[in-house]
């Protein structure tokens, strides 16, 4: 019995180490934290709500940033394509409305309604979740597997301005490879975007 308890304590200790993030957030392979955030429809959403998910497309995005707006339609399409495959989009607004009034919860509700968001658009109240992930800009994507292990971090594709001119669909490549059990070649990318707004 004592041996089992010791093993259990060791096991918990090891998983705790892997679940914690470094000073700059997650890297591929880390286990991302779940959360309990308010959705624009008033409900509270956690990743664990999606019992059959094969993975999660967590995207930090917002109303005010032109780059984020440029990707809105693509995010809607991603959810349409991948949610039925078991990879739902979970959008999170990481900004403090005191620093970015266009990103208030009320404005989030308006935008979600205006564009018929078919996915959760969550408010990172108190800005506790985005620092754990290490999101640094909007939009910023974290692809997780069903156990919340980070598979891919970064840009959706290589052309914010023009969806028709995209040459490399980083996120879709990652999802498709994951779905087939194949190695993801490009696990992280960088892109230009708006800084996350924190009240000074």
């Amino acid at each position: 019995m004592k041996k089992i308890v010791t093993l259990l304590v060791l096991f918990v200790g090891i998983t705790t180490i892997y679940a914690s993030n470094g000073p700059t957030g997650y890297s591929p392979g880390d286990i991302a934290t779940d959360f309990s955030l308010k959705n624009v429809d008033g409900s509270t959403v956690s990743l664990s709500d999606f019992r059959d998910a094969k993975g999660f497309i967590v995207v930090f995005t917002c109303n005010h940033c032109p780059y984020a707006v440029m990707y809105e339609d693509r995010i809607i399409e991603l959810n349409k394509k991948y949610a039925p495959m078991g990879y739902p989009v979970i959008a999170i607004n990481p900004n403090d409305p005191a620093a970015a009034p266009d990103d208030s919860f009320e404005k989030m509700k308006e935008r979600a309604k205006e564009k018929n968001f078919d996915f959760p658009y969550l408010f990172d109240d108190g800005q506790k979740v985005y620092p754990q992930y290490g999101a640094t800009r909007t939009p910023h994507v974290f692809l997780l597997d069903s156990k919340r292990v980070v598979q891919y971090i970064g840009a959706i594709d290589d052309n914010p301005q023009d969806a028709a001119s995209v040459q490399v669909k980083y996120l879709e490549n990652a999802i498709n490879n994951h779905a087939k059990g194949k190695e993801i070649e490009t696990k992280t990318t960088k892109a230009v975007g708006c800084s996350i707004k924190v009240k000074k």
Binding site: P66, R137, K190, V192, C194
Partner: protein, 143 residues
């Protein structure tokens, strides 16, 4: 300012070759990455402008990441309206993932960001400045 007067680079490598590579060991060049649509970028521009106007021996370059189709519509009118005296360059290379790390591996790509090349040392500040003093502080800390 006409479109012809604004220095534009379609490729980052060209920009690096012409602007960054020639920087001398004794020079102090402050390169700010911004865009007309980026609110915190626009809010900190006055501090960079003050540096240009007041500080001899410091050269400021404002590198705009506005899109190509916004140069005539937004960037040039902005430069004229605000009477910017620092050198403004348009960097039109959309392959961001290829060159962000070349500016600095520490840069996430978020705007604004400032690359300082001072006496041969390079440092990247991923932050918004709230005063000229704060900006000068960071510049002087590299001496």
């Amino acid at each position: 300012m006409s479109k012809g007067q604004l220095l534009q680079f379609e490729s980052f490598d060209e920009f690096e070759k012409e602007i960054i590579a020639p920087i001398g060991e004794n020079e102090k060049i402050i390169i700010n990455f911004w865009a007309t649509w980026c609110k915190p970028c626009v809010e900190e521009l006055p501090f960079f402008e003050q540096i240009t106007q007041e500080e001899n021996g410091l050269r400021v370059i404002l590198v705009s990441l506005d899109f190509k189709n916004q140069i005539e519509k937004k960037l040039i009118p902005f430069v004229e309206k605000h009477k910017l005296r620092s050198q403004v360059i348009a960097l039109l290379d959309g392959k961001y993932n290829d060159w962000i790390d070349k500016v600095s591996p520490e840069w996430s790509g978020a705007l604004p960001g400032t690359l300082m090349v001072v006496n041969g040392k390079k440092y990247f500040y991923e932050k918004s400045y709230h005063s000229k003093e704060e900006l000068l502080n960071d510049i002087n800390s590299l001496n």
